[in-house]
């Protein structure tokens, strides 16, 4: 049995309190951590032992609740899944990029929440049937078509990584569009056309410049970039059917 290794960790944390500060500033903390800890553990130790006024969100500590997204050395990360062993020297911790700061590492997700709702992320049934008639049959192959896109934990790291969202705040963005795609691909759903008015617009998939940063930072391996590409293709086919094929949808 080898004892757990300890390490003195230096954190440089962005602080901002709208009650008292005119602008954000960095604060340095030094805290003894175990080598196997994550950045969130270090922050919790700072809060418990050094500075109770430091604020951040967290809950599950297993990368599924999506609360603890932050910029760590400039990269969007879940702090519960950012291992100290991956970092050397001072670790810089800032709130998620592209969202307004409420306080310290806490950002306001209002814009994301609104966009999520706009894409109608729920089943619009192809054919309604009562519960008494049992389940809709869905083969494993049909499930696999959309399952990956249902794994999004709404952590918003992809919004913080997306250069397009940074430039064009109207962009619906990777997670919400991917969720629309998830329902479009579900064999139980008939709502694709209802979603098109939001999805197939310039605020929608056509704003995406396919940088792919969203997929690189996604902690749930959802691959929003591929979802958006697939949506562009189906939207293009819609357009061709509508405009170029005689007898297509008017």
């Amino acid at each position: 049995m080898t004892p757990l290794k300890e390490r003195l960790v230096q954190l440089e944390v962005l602080r901002y309190n709208p009650d008292t500060d005119t602008e954000a500033h960095f604060q340095r903390y030094e805290v003894v951590c175990q080598e196997e800890w994550v950045v969130l553990d270090a922050l919790n130790k700072v809060k418990a032992d050094i500075d109770p006024t430091l604020n951040f969100r967290w809950s599950c500590h297993m990368a599924v609740c999506g609360s603890c997204g932050m910029m760590i050395n400039g990269e969007p990360k879940l702090s519960c899944h950012a291992f100290l062993r991956s970092y050397e020297g001072v670790i810089r911790v800032e709130p998620l990029a592209h969202f307004p700061i409420e306080r310290d590492l806490v950002t306001a997700p209002d814009d994301f929440m609104e966009k999520l709702k706009r894409v109608k992320p729920y089943i619009i049934p192809k054919e309604k049937k009562p519960i008494s008639e049992g389940e809709y049959k869905q083969t494993p192959a049909q499930l696999m078509k959309f399952r990956q896109y249902s794994m999004c934990i709404n952590c918003m790291l992809c919004y913080a990584a997306c250069p397009e969202y940074g430039l064009t705040p109207d962009f619906i963005g990777p997670a919400a569009l991917t969720l629309a795609h998830r329902y479009n691909l579900d064999s139980r759903d008939g709502g694709r056309l209802a979603r098109q008015e939001v999805v197939a617009t310039h605020e929608g998939v056509w704003d995406c410049t396919f940088v792919g940063a969203c997929s690189e930072v996604c902690p749930a391996h959802v691959d929003p970039a591929s979802a958006l590409q697939q949506m562009k293709i189906t939207s293009s086919i819609d357009w061709i059917v509508e405009h170029l094929i005689p007898g297509g949808k008017s």
Binding site: T2, K47, P52, T53, E135, S150, I153
Partner: protein
């Protein structure tokens, strides 16, 4: 203080709260619904549930078998009328989720697939890989977005229930972003605030599981029921406490001690079954209380493995093979790899029991109603007496749905023909919340640090109210928690800001946890028997003559709470022997 008038206020927006909100909106679209939560809905701890949700759906299964598994699993402390209602509603609710898009795993023919789970005689656990709770939560949240009558108050920390004329008529809450207090005047209130596992230091529970809903109801006069029954999940990661789902064993994983022996066979769960061929309701598919208790005995015998994270046993899944592991247990593989550095495809993973779930909670009946008129509760914060002395894995995700919906229907019944509210009286009650918060901010004689008190509470609970308990340890636990509640009156805030002040919220959460911890310790001391998850070294047998009853704990301000008892409802299954010896008789 701004007043928000609504018809039904729901506190908590996890599985139970969302299910209640949708049921209200569907049943009567004219109702105004306020959904209040200290976190955004998708952060709720329902998301961390892994294994699945039980409901009779396959032709070889029956309601009677689900009934017997649940009642026996709960060591006959379940109310059998409640179990009866639950098992019949369960498949309907799971089908409803299917219609709403939940990505349940499927059989080749497209029907819903089921997996084995601990203590269940048949395969009846519906699952979405090992992220079942996550998918249930997101399906409910996303479905809820289509109902305009549901108004969400995300990141509002609920503080006190407003009770007047013997009825619950609202709640006060703080908008966390601004620090401003609001009062919600409501004809009915549903609490769906989750459990309180964070009173223990080693827990699968997220940071938010601090018993706020339980404590709020308790302070307002609703009793807490059966709080001494705390479930240890047998298989947690030894460093972070992260849950490795029971599905690990359902799919065929085995538990071995340092000698490589499958030790469960030595604790009434044998004989040994062939590796890779799990048999229902025996060995690794025994109930959680028994499997966790077996660990404790192995520890006493020196049969555990000493690791850098402390004493452990080993969960071995190597024989399942990489393909099955990736298909059925992808999250487990990720968690063990990331946090422990163990690839479960190649190595056995060290684990130990970890606090997971509160069987107890706000006392409710089968209609999800508390004894306080106008107040309803559902989910882990409630004790509807489905789970008795030990919950079976995969019953609680369904409980959220069945009783979340039922709470909504009961609330609708309650609000018909109510007398007019006395607004002045409610305002006066809300003013008391204001004073409580102001006093906390302006306290000048504070001497106690929040994190210090919290550490003492956790240490006390771990030391004295663990898997096995004794008179002496519980006496110490009761007096220590009581002392901490007195000292909590002098807790000091370091942060006096109004905006997103987590120093304040952690202090309030500590107050909730201390109230709940006192109910746990007092109930455990008074129950002089061993039943399910409550095991006494000094009273080793179940005592149906004196303790076939629910512990009811009543809040008495800063004094020690009052304890009385309520009979268990037995309809058709008299207390019997819990047999987990498989086919061997």
């Amino acid at each position: 203080m701004e007043t928000i008038s609504t018809d039904v206020a729901i506190i908590g927006a996890g599985g139970a709260g969302l299910r209640a909100a949708i049921a209200l909106a569907e049943t009567d679209p004219t109702l105004r619904i306020a959904l209040i939560s200290k976190v955004y809905p998708m952060r709720s701890h329902t998301c961390a549930a892994e294994g699945g949700a039980a409901g009779v759906i396959k032709p070889d299964d029956s309601f009677d078998m689900h009934f017997d598994d649940t009642v026996g699993g709960g060591d006959w402390l379940s109310d059998q009328d409640c179990v009866e209602y639950f098992i019949h509603e369960a498949p309907k609710e799971l089908l409803q989720l299917e219609h709403w898009g939940c990505p349940w795993n499927r059989e080749a023919d497209g029907s819903v697939a089921v997996r084995p789970f601990g203590g269940m005689k048949k395969k009846r656990t519906w699952f979405a890989a090992d992220k079942s709770g996550f998918h249930i939560l997101h399906t409910l949240f996303q479905t809820s977005l289509q109902f305009p009558s549901i108004t969400r108050y995300d990141e509002y920390y609920a503080l006190d229930l407003l009770v007047d004329d013997g009825r619950c008529q609202g709640v006060t809450a703080m908008e966390m972003r601004s620090g401003e207090l609001r009062q919600f005047h409501a004809k009915a209130v549903i609490i769906a605030g989750g459990g309180a596992g964070r009173m223990f230091p080693f827990s699968t529970n997220g940071a938010i599981k601090t018993g706020d809903g339980m404590a709020m109801a308790y302070r307002a006069g609703a009793p807490l029921k059966d709080m001494e029954f705390v479930q240890y999940h047998p298989t947690g990661l030894p460093n972070t406490g992260s849950l490795l789902t029971e599905a690990c064993r359902g799919e065929g994983g085995i538990l071995v001690n340092k000698h490589g022996r499958r030790y469960l066979q030595d604790y009434g769960m044998g004989p040994e079954t062939p590796v890779g061929q799990p048999q229902l309701k025996t060995m690794e598919l025994g109930p959680r209380d028994r499997v966790s208790q077996a660990y404790w005995h192995e520890l006493q015998k020196g049969n555990t493995v000493t690791t850098q994270w402390g004493e452990c046993v080993l969960l071995d899944m190597r024989h399942l093979g990489e393909k099955k592991i990736n298909e059925r247990l992808p999250l487990v593989r990720e968690l063990a790899e990331a946090y422990l550095g163990v690839d479960i495809v190649k190595d056995a993973v060290p684990i130990r029991p970890v606090v997971h779930y509160m069987m107890g909670g706000i006392s409710t009946n089968t209609a999800a109603a508390t004894p306080l008129p106008g107040l309803f509760a559902a989910g882990e914060c409630a004790c509807v007496s489905l789970n008795g002395a030990n919950r079976l894995g995969s019953n609680s995700l369904v409980e959220l749905l069945v009783f979340g919906r039922r709470a909504a229907l009961s609330a609708i019944d309650h609000i018909q023909n109510l007398p007019t509210a006395n607004t002045a009286a409610l305002n006066a009650r809300a003013e008391q919340t204001q004073q409580r918060i102001s006093e906390l901010f302006s306290r000048s004689d504070g001497t106690e640090s929040m994190s210090g008190l919290r550490r003492e509470m956790m240490d006390t609970m771990e030391k004295n109210v663990g898997i096995y308990r004794s008179e002496e340890g519980l006496q110490e636990g009761v007096s220590k928690i009581h002392e901490l509640r007195q000292r909590y009156q002098r807790v000091i805030l370091t942060d006096k800001s109004s905006v997103f002040n987590t120093d304040l919220f952690q202090a309030l959460e500590l107050g909730s946890m201390l109230d709940c911890a006192e109910a746990v310790t007092v109930g455990a001391l008074a129950r002089k028997e061993s039943r399910g998850a409550h095991q006494r070294l000094d009273y080793v047998e179940r005592d149906d003559k004196n303790f076939l009853c629910h512990t009811m704990v009543h809040h008495q301000g800063l004094d020690v709470p009052r304890v009385d008892y309520l009979d268990v409802v037995i309809t058709k299954s008299p207390p019997g022997v819990r047999d987990y010896s498989g086919d061997h008789k």
